[in-house]
Each structure stands twice: as structure tokens, then as C-alpha cells.
Symmetry: C2
Subunit: 495 residues, 2 copies
């Protein structure tokens, strides 16, 4: 599929425009047929959204973007295209008719993917001269980001067409799922639709509002569904005995009135055996404990990602952390100032912190130092409230020396020594210690500048902070100065 | 609820053990009643899992952990507890009987939360002397991480009980959702159960295997459900006209055979008006474009979080990036070596990169420098394949100077100047330039050491890399040396 240079898009709505974005950002030209007089603006907006998303998504080198244009006839979009994607309105008769019309301008070997979310490919291909080149490629909104594309052939679709479509979708960053049996709604939309119908009942019967229904998903099961489907989640819930144990425990509840939807399959031995065998195959020998750890790590990553967006479960985490920090603030006065480096932060190396060498990535070192510095600042009263009032410490300079490595889950702690301070500056020396063997992993030397954030310039610390900092400066003044403090980077040939 | 020091847990299985973990990690003592002779080991394992998860979850200062112990009678768990959580087997008669037994040892004002996933609180509280203190608090697996807890009172539950339970759950980091109407399965389980019943049909009818069903969720709609429920997702799909437009477009499909579950509510004007009014209230004035950007940012964060775990949609992204990098590798020979700093990386400040000052967080500076260095290393052939063969560059020292700030979405690029190199060392000077006004935001000076990763010590670069690096060193040798190269951090009082 590396030979696809131009994509012909039939329909330039939300779906068609987003296909255009995927193509253009992956270096292909897109020719989009749409008769909406505003199509140019609308597709442009979708592509701009996608560009913004990709700039956040990856730092890998995207190819030079392709070109795109709107045309008014299906034939213009089809002519010269190396791949066709159809995203016309969801009416079977209309799609059949317009596909036949567009085909007159296509090369006979070009694959046509259809974005239909549930119409049957055998019927959609029925008006084509070359039906073997037609296949469903059902994407999800936003198409430029969502990986899933359900690939489903009709009776006349060739295997070659399916393979070529899947290779194309994969090339533009998607995850093709082969739907082996033709069925209304394919797989994902059947599952979404079942949930949606139940949700409509809950609104209809005044059990819950739309917002409460959404909250029941996004603070709960939806968080797991981002990386594990219901089948694996239930297998894990079954504990070591797995799926069979889960079904023994919860199978009977299929008879309970837990949804409006009481037409359920008979849970006989045949279905049970099939479920368990498929679940075993899916687990592929991975044990429950390993899945549990993977589940927890994925959840933690998602919470942290959502925290960066201050949304949903991420906001729950942020609120929780705010309470923890302010509880510590209440205890801070209790910390005695002794003539030894402060130990304000300990943690473990997260699995997500590793680089391609399998060690903690260098930027995480600065994150660890920064966290320890924040703890020092919180200790002297330069906390979030202080920042909100317009005062803050900014980092002016940092010097890090890497002396050892840390792998995933290695425990560590940071010690902080104040080397000096004046009314505007705070000079700090930090050491990351490996928890298991006590080795010094890295040293960090930092110069912080106190600023008036509104004025955007250096300014003296407020007395409330200065007075808490002073006894620490005094207590640390007698500590030996670290050998490498004030060191500069340079290269001398050693011979 | 700050006065809760000890939690009594009735039942120490997967759910009860995880409640113990939440309590202990939040500084409360847990007394767990379970008659399983292995309860001590099992609960200990769950708490260890939770401890591992929390060490990754947050760097906020958790309180000193509480104690925990297993007891064999309900009365011992209830005696002296400030809050009771019941997680006994899911049998109504059993729960009613054991709750009444445990109550004999409780103070009369202590709240009892029940973990039942669907039994009705009015029935569960029927055997209690003080039924007003009983409320359902339905959590989700893993209870120590999942935010959602559905709080549902029975006919005799007091408002004070609901408020106290919600305050307790919130204190231990959860998101309580008040289920206002008592109903089998509450809200989340009704939605999960509808999806589950449809999934069982798909297996039963050989449409899809358990793995294919899971993939249809976790590469598709499940990714959105982690932060937005079906109702908001559909509102966004409706575009600017919102929910009413979506319902006009997709309402008719409720009559289509897209699930086995054909008992759907009549979509009359009353239901339609209610849906749209609730959806408007939920959106609270936020427009579609804003929701789209939020959706995309959350999706990007989730993809990146899952990439760190090399799982699901994160692996799709990693595979995509690998292809992009290797495509660049093929083009690398085309980059001409000129006597000017290399420009190998440009990007924008992600919204998730900000610190509490609203500026790019300091650790992100090192991340940006590190990414630019990786691009340099890829350029000279020290790529992932080189690393896999056991050779790599490790960072020995870094010196960063912060000269300006960057806010969210600020475009930037990095220039890279090679200051020197020998057989084992590479000395580099980098500048982050702000894209909008060209200001120098930060400088980075780095010393990289070439290592034999297996032997764990410095080793000469392989000729294939050295030969690509040499012409860059030569081309950069004539460039002026940056003023601040070799600078050390220090403090002299300016008076």
C-alpha cells in the first residue's frame, strides 16, 4: 500500500473530512467530493483539528503533508485515485446508486472502502461492475485519532481487497479488525447500541439523567474499556480460576432483571465451553496477576493523562492530591530543621518512565528533582496558594550529573541541601539515592529565582516564606559543600 | 469524615481486600472479617498491588499507612469501627442475616456501606435495628484505583447517612455518584450488563470471538468512554445542532436490527425533549468545538499513557511511530551537512506539559532536549536497531539555562550544535527557539557517553556511527562557541 499517493473520498462530512485529515497528515493527496457549499471550510476545520492533535500525539517525523481539494462530482474524486473511501449518507439505496456512478471513473483495480456503520457489504456492492474490490472499512469518530476500523467483506469481496484495505488502514496508523461474519451493525456498534438502548430506558424511566449515565461510565467501567474489553475484565474478576469461575458466579444473574433486555442466550455447556476456550486463547498463557498489574498500570497512566486535561477521573485524582498536599502543609510546621539534608520525596520508578535502554529516561530525572524542589517550596510556604497570589520560584539553571541507572519499580529517595539563598535566589543541591543499594544515581544543582509572576520579573520573597527558609539555610550552612557543586561541562582528551 | 480512624470490613475477598487497601493507604486502620484460612495472604497481596499502584499514581504525600488485621467474626470487625463496609457474597438472604448479626457489635451511629452490585438497599436494610444508617456504596474493580462508587439509599436510609458515606468515599479518593432511584443493578451495571448480554449473543452466534469483541471495544469506543459517556459522545457527533440533530439522524436506527435487544423505549416527543434538555444541562454552555478539542486532547493523553505500557491503542501508536522513524531513517542520508546548527525537531507545547505557573514544566525542557538529541542520534545511525544490538549513548551531564517561558500550544524548534566528540564522548549544545517570536527559551549543554550496554561501561562508537558523525563535527567546528558553554552554577551576592 506504499504506492497509494492519492485518495478519493466520496463525501466530506465529519467522517469524510477526517479521512482526508488522516490521508493528508500521512503524506497522501486527498480529493474530496462534497456538494455542501461550506465543504471547504468544514473539511479545513477538521484537518486543522487533526493537525493540532497530531502535534500533541507524536514527535515521530510525519511525512510532508499531502494536498487536498474539494470537488463537486463523484467522478472527479474517483479519477486517478489509488484508494477510494466512501462516507456518504447512511442510506442503502443512495450508497448503491452513487457507488455505481463513481465506479465509472475508477481504475478497475482500485479498492473501495465504505465507512458505513452497519449496512451489509453484500448489498452495498450489488450495483458495482467490480464488486470484488468493495469492502466495508468502518471507522470511529474522530477518524483521524481513533485506531479501530472494522473491515468486513461481502459475498463477492476478494481476499486481496481485504488485505489491501487492511494494509492501507494500518499504514495510516489504524488498527483494522477483521469482521469475519457479515451482520447488521458489525461488532462495535452492536455493543454500543445495546448500551445506548439501555441508557435510553434509564432516561425514559427517570432513573438517571444523561449526565449521571455518562458519569457512571467515565468514572467507572469506561476507564477499563480504554484498554481491556468486557471479556478480559470479567476473566480477571474470576481470579485464578478465570472465566469458568466468573461464569459460575455471575452466569445466574443473566436471569435477573438487571436490564430491560431480557432476551439472553441460553448459557448451556456448549456456550460455556466456547466462551472459556476463547477466553483461554485470548489470554495466551498470561496469568491473572500479570493482567492485574497491567490493568493497574494502564489505569494509572490514564488517570495521569486525564489529570493533565483536568477532566473526568483526572480531576478526581487532582482533587485528591490537593487534599493530600494541604494535609501535609498542616503538618509542615512539625518538621524539625536539623543540620542534615532534607528528605522530602521518595518514590519508585514507574514503568512508563523508561527509555529505549530500559532505564529511567533522562527527562524523568529532572521531573524527580522538580518534585523534590516543589516539596521544599511547599515546606517553606511557597505553595499553590502562594502561586495563586502571584508569587513563585522559577528555575533559572539546572545541572544534572548521571552516575548510575534505575530500572522499572526501583525505589528511590531524594535529599535536598540548601547551598545558599538571598532575597531573590535559592541555590539547591539534590541527590537521587537508589533505595535498594543506597547508590547515588544522580546529582542535581539548581538555581531558583523568586518572581512576581504578574510583573514578570524577579522580586524579593515575601517575609512569610523567607522566615521559614531562613532556619533551613542556617542549619545547612555547616554541611560540607558537595564536590561537584559549581562544576561545568567540558571535554578534555584524556589521551 | 476526618474522624474515621478505623474501618470495619465485612468480607475480605477481592472487593473487601481492596477496600482495606484504600483505607490503609489513606492512613486508616482496617479490621477485616473473613473466614478463609488464606485471607491474610490474599488481602496482603491486594494491599501490595495497591501500594505498587499508588507509588505510580501520585507523588502527593500520602499519610502514614494504617494497620490491618484479619478477624474471624463479624462482631470483632464491627466493634470499635468508625465506618463499616460490607462486601459479603451476593446473596440477599445471607447479607440480611449477617448485617443484623454484625450490627449487635456496632455503635448506633456508625454508617454501613454495602458493596452490592445490584441488590436493593430497601431489602438489605430490612433486618437492621437502625436501618437509617445503611446505604449502598457500590465500587468497581480494582476498588483501590477505580474512582466510581454508586451511592444508593433504601426507603429508610437517612440523608445524613448518604452525606457521610459520600464524604468518606471522597476522602479516600473516590467519585461518589448518587443513584437517586432504587433499581436493580443501579446505573453502571445495567449499562455493562446490556453490553455483556449482546456480547454473549455474538459469541453464541459465532459472529466474533471473545478477543475480537474486546478489540472492538478497546481500540474503538472504549477509548472515548474513559472520559466521556455515550450521551456526550453522541451530542458531539450531532455537531453544532447537538443532541436533537443526532437523534433526528440516528433515532430511526432504534428500529433497526442492530442488536438482539429490540425492546426499546418509544422515541416520542416527551422522551426526545427530556433527552435534549438534559443533554443541554450537561453541556452547560460548552460548545461542540471545545468538546472536540477536549476529546482529542484526552484521547492523545490516553494513547500516550497506554504506549508507556505497550498495550492496546498504545501499541498501535508505537508501531505507527516505528514506521515513521524508519521511513525517516531511509531519508537521513539525504540530509546535507552544512556549517550551521542542525534543526531536527520542532513541536508545540502540549497542554499537559504545563506547571502550576501555566508555563512549560521544567522537566519538559529536558524532554524536548532529549527528543532533539534522539533525532541527532538517529541521524548518525545510533537508532533503535543499534540499541538493540547493545550499543547506546547515555547522558553523563546536562546543564540547562531557562531564559524565557512557553505557554500551551506555543510552537518551538530546537537547534543542535555539536561542540565536540571523541571515540566515546559527544558534546552537544542545544537551543529551544520560540516559534512565534524567535526568542531563545532555553539552552541545553549535554555530554553523552557511548556505552557497551551489556558490559555496562563506556566503549568506542562503532565505525558506522563514527563515520556519520565525523562530517557533522567537522562542519560545526567552525561555528562560534556559545557564550554560556562550560558555564557553572553559582551565587555571588550582587550587593
Amino acid at each position: 500500500m506504499d504506492n497509494i499517493k492519492r485518495v478519493g473520498l466520496l463525501g466530506g462530512g465529519v467522517i469524510g473530512g477526517a479521512w482526508a485529515a488522516r490521508a493528508v497528515l500521512n503524506g497522501m493527496d486527498a480529493v474530496v467530493c462534497d456538494t455542501d457549499p461550506e465543504a471547504e471550510r468544514k473539511v479545513g476545520e477538521v484537518i486543522e483539528n487533526a493537525r493540532r492533535a497530531y502535534s500533541m500525539l507524536t514527535i515521530a517525523p510525519l511525512p510532508a503533508p499531502g494536498t487536498w481539494r474539494i470537488v463537486r462530482t463523484l467522478e472527479e474524486a474517483a479519477d486517478g485515485a489509488d484508494f477510494i473511501q466512501e462516507s456518504l449518507p447512511e442510506r442503502e439505496d443512495l450508497k448503491i446508486r452513487l457507488l455505481a456512478q463513481a465506479e465509472t471513473a475508477m481504475r478497475p483495480d482500485v479498492v473501495i472502502g465504505s465507512s458505513t456503520s452497519g449496512l451489509l457489504p453484500t448489498r452495498l456492492q450489488s450495483g458495482l461492475k467490480h464488486p470484488e474490490r468493495f469492502v466495508v472499512g468502518h471507522p470511529f469518530n474522530p477518524v483521524y485519532l481513533m485506531p479501530l476500523v472494522e473491515v468486513c467483506g461481502g459475498e463477492k469481496t476478494s481476499d486481496d481487497t481485504k488485505q489491501r484495505a487492511m494494509a492501507f488502514y494500518r499504514r495510516i496508523g489504524m488498527h483494522p479488525l477483521h469482521v469475519r461474519k457479515e451482520i447488521d451493525g458489525f461488532i462495535a456498534d452492536r455493543l454500543m447500541e445495546a448500551l445506548w438502548r439501555e441508557a435510553l430506558w434509564l432516561v425514559n424511566d427517570d432513573v438517571a439523567t444523561t449526565e449521571e449515565i455518562d458519569d457512571a461510565i467515565r468514572f467507572g467501567p469506561g476507564l477499563r474499556w480504554a484498554f481491556m474489553g468486557t471479556m478480559l475484565i470479567y476473566r480477571i474478576a474470576g481470579g485464578e480460576p478465570g472465566m469458568r469461575h466468573f461464569m459460575a458466579q455471575f452466569g445466574p444473574s443473566l436471569k435477573w432483571p438487571w436490564t430491560k433486555l431480557m432476551d439472553v442466550p441460553e448459557l448451556d455447556t456448549a456456550l460455556l465451553d466456547k466462551l472459556c476456550a476463547q477466553s483461554d486463547a485470548q489470554a495466551a498463557g498470561t496469568g491473572i496477576r500479570e493482567f492485574e498489574r497491567l490493568r493497574d498500570s494502564c489505569l494509572v497512566s490514564i488517570f495521569q493523562g486525564l489529570k493533565a486535561n483536568d477532566y473526568g477521573a483526572g480531576r478526581t485524582l487532582a482533587d485528591y492530591e490537593k487534599r493530600l498536599w494541604s494535609a501535609q502543609g498542616r503538618d509542615a510546621v512539625a518538621i524539625a530543621v536539623k543540620p542534615e539534608p532534607l528528605r522530602l520525596y521518595e518514590g519508585r520508578v514507574e514503568p512508563g518512565w523508561l527509555d529505549y535502554n530500559g532505564h529511567m529516561n533522562e527527562s524523568r530525572y529532572l521531573q524527580v528533582f522538580s518534585t523534590a524542589s516543589d516539596a521544599l517550596l511547599a515546606l517553606i510556604g511557597a505553595d499553590t496558594d502562594y502561586v495563586r497570589r502571584g508569587h513563585s520560584f522559577y528555575t533559572a539553571e539546572t545541572h544534572i550529573m548521571h552516575l548510575n541507572e534505575m530500572r522499572a519499580n526501583t525505589p528511590f529517595h531524594v535529599t535536598t541541601q540548601v547551598l545558599g539563598a538571598d532575597e531573590k535566589r535559592l541555590h539547591v543541591w539534590q541527590i537521587i539515592h537508589r533505595g535498594d543499594d543506597g547508590a547515588v544515581v544522580a546529582t542535581g544543582e539548581h538555581m531558583y529565582l523568586h518572581v512576581d509572576a504578574k510583573a514578570g520579573r524577579a522580586a524579593p520573597m515575601l517575609p512569610e516564606v523567607r522566615d521559614k527558609l531562613a532556619p533551613i539555610v542556617v542549619a545547612h550552612a555547616g554541611l560540607p559543600r558537595p564536590d561537584n557543586a559549581g562544576r561545568s561541562i567540558g571535554m578534555k582528551r584524556k589521551g
